[in-house]
């Protein structure tokens, strides 16, 4: 990087690593777009990538905490399958008999059940790891086998479908979006929140008499944030609803269907869930004691103990959180497919770990960001979708992803060594 460019970046105060990852993502997009002759960077494709990224990205935010505390969770794919199958059976075989078929409360009960299931199972694993001191690798490897087997027992291996229509909205699709108006409102709200946060942070720093960035730098930051958010919304609001679905969607949104009525997708609900999870997890990691203790423990477990941090309980909480997020992902993933078979979530643990690691989470512990993991998941999904659309066959796709994983971590190690952290 040129010196002036370096200075610009440090003035604006963006983490160079974030810039690097966004750069990698943009390069991938452009390459695939050129390769496919302009069929990649379309609202339709970006909408699909955003939806397909959600499930893995939601879990990847939790995996950041797990890896930062020097653990690993190999069980999330199987746990996702087990939870997905259980709540599918709940809403198809159990709840209709109790509250009635198609009752409005089914999706709520099923979703809450999914999160609670993940929370309890995750906490149990965390307890074995923290208090019985069995290594996380072993505990969650056991979990991987146990939950995949348990999933089979739920329905003796049978596929469960169709899921509750309201529940299915949580997976995206033509109806599972905010719609245009709400998407704009969502974008405006997010932009407003970003601006307020930037200004408040500046004022707080100035109040303590710290050196603050030049005003123009804050301006650039605000412009970038707002531009990114509104650009994202605009793109997804430019993806028209397919002909066959127009009547259904217009009715669902309470609009009168005419031939000239413009109907677009907007931001998908699973993407909204992902963004909310990302914001919440970022706050947890940067602004709460719990988050601070996670990083301290990862950096030096002994120092954390000596500072009075209960690192065993911390382990339980970290795995419980991972489990709850897996529950959310189970809802998103099963809702997207509309049915659950025994393969749901297979190999997801590796995608989730890869997303966190590509996003800069160090397996040695102590380092990792939530946004990094989310971008890591987007990079993985882009690679997969891109290769599929240029006709790379599945075995080669896996080889490329594996190769990229190793190279990404190597680049990260070189970068760390250079900046000395």
């Amino acid at each position: 990087m040129k010196d002036s460019a370096k200075k610009f970046v440090s003035n604006v105060g963006i983490d160079p690593r974030l810039l690097g990852m966004i750069g990698a993502l943009v390069v991938l997009w452009v390459v695939f777009d050129l390769w496919t002759g302009g069929r990649f960077l379309t609202p339709r494709n970006l909408f699909n990538i955003s939806v397909q990224t959600s499930s893995v990205a939601i879990m990847a935010t939790g995996m950041v905490f797990v890896i930062v505390t020097r653990h690993i969770d190999l069980s999330v794919g199987s746990l996702l399958g087990f939870i997905g199958m259980s709540v599918a059976a709940l809403q198809v075989h159990v709840l209709p008999d109790i509250v009635g078929l198609g009752h409005w409360s089914i999706w709520i009960i099923a979703s809450v059940a999914a999160v609670l299931m993940g929370l309890v199972i995750g906490a149990a694993q965390g307890w074995v790891i923290g208090y019985l001191t069995v290594p996380a690798f072993i505990v969650t490897l056991g979990g991987l086998l146990i939950y995949r087997g348990a999933m089979w027992w739920v329905t003796e291996g049978q596929t469960v479908s169709p899921l509750d229509p309201n529940f299915k909205l949580l997976g995206g699709g033509a109806e599972g979006t905010l719609g245009e108006t709400l998407s704009w409102a969502f974008g405006l709200f997010a932009s407003f929140a970003a601006v307020v946060l930037i200004i408040l942070s500046r004022r707080r720093k100035a109040n303590h008499g710290f050196v603050v960035k030049p005003v123009w730098a804050e301006g650039v930051l605000i412009a970038l944030a707002v531009g990114l958010i509104m650009g994202f919304v605009w793109t997804l609001n430019s993806y028209p609803i397919a002909k066959g679905a127009r009547a259904r969607v217009a009715e669902a949104r309470g609009l009168e269907l005419t031939d000239t009525l413009s109907l677009n997708h907007g931001v998908a609900i699973p993407v909204v869930i992902l963004l909310l999870v990302t914001v919440a997890m970022t706050i947890v990691s940067k602004r709460t004691r719990f988050g601070r203790y996670i990083y301290a423990t990862g950096g030096n477990p002994e120092a954390a103990e000596l500072s009075g941090i209960n690192t065993r309980m911390l382990t339980v909480k970290v795995f419980a959180l991972m489990g709850a997020l897996t529950g959310i992902s189970a809802v998103v993933a099963s809702a997207r497919l509309g049915s659950v078979d025994v393969g749901l979530g297979t190999l997801d643990e590796l995608r989730v770990i890869a997303a966190a690691v590509i996003g800069g989470t160090a397996l040695a512990g102590g380092f990792g960001t939530i946004y990094g993991a989310v971008i890591g998941a987007a990079i993985m999904q882009t690679l997969q979708s891109g290769m599929a659309s240029v006709g790379v066959d599945a075995p080669l796709q896996n080889m490329v992803v594996g190769f990229v994983l190793v190279v990404a971590v190597w680049i990260d190690i070189v970068y760390r060594r250079k900046v000395g952290v």
């Binding site: 030096n300 000596l306 009075g308």
Partner: protein
């Protein structure tokens, strides 16, 4: 000796790791405004003894009294509640966090909505570092990016900031240059004059002779003896450390 109740009494403390008796029936005490040196070879058990006081280890036997009352120190949090602060030999810093996060680790300043207030913590850190180490500037770097001396000053700041009554310093000047060592000596004298009791573990006999009121010497986990520094020579102390020989048994036994 003073007749006042000691600030700290550690009585007949023993601890073993596997078969090794790291500390074997050791008793030491400390009064307000007093500096007690702990001396002994590497492996004598000094760090282990003070880690029992700071809540890092549990003694297998023995009792601790704080201001005359039996204390129950099961973990580092308990020790902090007795206003015991410790500068560990290993410094016990989370290398990936910045100075302020380390200084306040476990005792963060929070805003009224309960989130950690990094700006307030940095402001406080700037204040105390301004007193302890005016050259310190790297407030936003992780402490892994700091020099040995700077790291040590972060660890010292952490122990001093929270109004300690009892301060444990395990080789606090090990990574410091002569100038910084001098500053630590002045700090010890100032804290002593404020009535704080200090256990000072050091290899440097001159430091101990200059700064301490009394010195307790350990060898192979056992206490050789405790002497008033005024009443002994450097050679007496060396004899205790190396040979485990008490210079004048009768004086301290009473």
């Amino acid at each position: 000796m003073t007749t006042k109740t000691p600030l700290v009494e550690m009585k007949n403390i023993s601890i073993a790791f596997g078969g090794v008796k790291a500390v074997d029936d050791v008793s030491v005490d400390l009064h307000e405004g007093e500096v007690v040196g702990l001396l002994g070879h590497n492996g004598a058990g000094k760090s282990t003894l003070i880690k029992i006081l700071s809540g890092a280890y549990h003694a297998n036997a023995g009792e601790i009294y704080i201001s005359g009352e039996k204390a129950h120190i099961a973990n580092p949090r308990d020790a902090r509640n007795y206003n015991i602060e410790t500068i560990y030999q290993t410094l016990a810093l989370a290398d990936n966090l910045d100075a302020a996060s380390n200084l306040f680790l476990g005792r963060e300043i929070v805003t009224n909505v309960g989130t950690v207030d990094d700006d307030a913590m940095e402001a406080e850190t700037r204040k105390i570092m301004g007193r302890l180490n005016p050259n310190f500037e790297k407030f936003s770097s992780p402490v892994s990016a700091l020099s040995g001396g700077q790291r040590q000053s972060v660890a010292i700041a952490r122990a001093v900031y929270f109004n300690a009554k009892i301060l444990i310093m395990d080789e606090p000047t090990a990574a410091l240059g002569p100038h910084e060592t001098q500053m630590v000596s002045e700090l010890i004298q100032q804290l002593k004059s404020e009535g704080i009791g200090i256990f000072l573990i050091s290899h440097d006999i001159h430091d101990v002779m200059d700064l301490c009121d009394r010195a307790s010497v350990m060898k192979n986990g056992k206490l050789v003896g405790t002497v008033n520094v005024d009443e002994v020579t450097d050679d007496d102390l060396l004899g205790m450390i190396i040979l485990g020989k008490h210079p004048h048994e009768n004086k301290e036994d009473a």
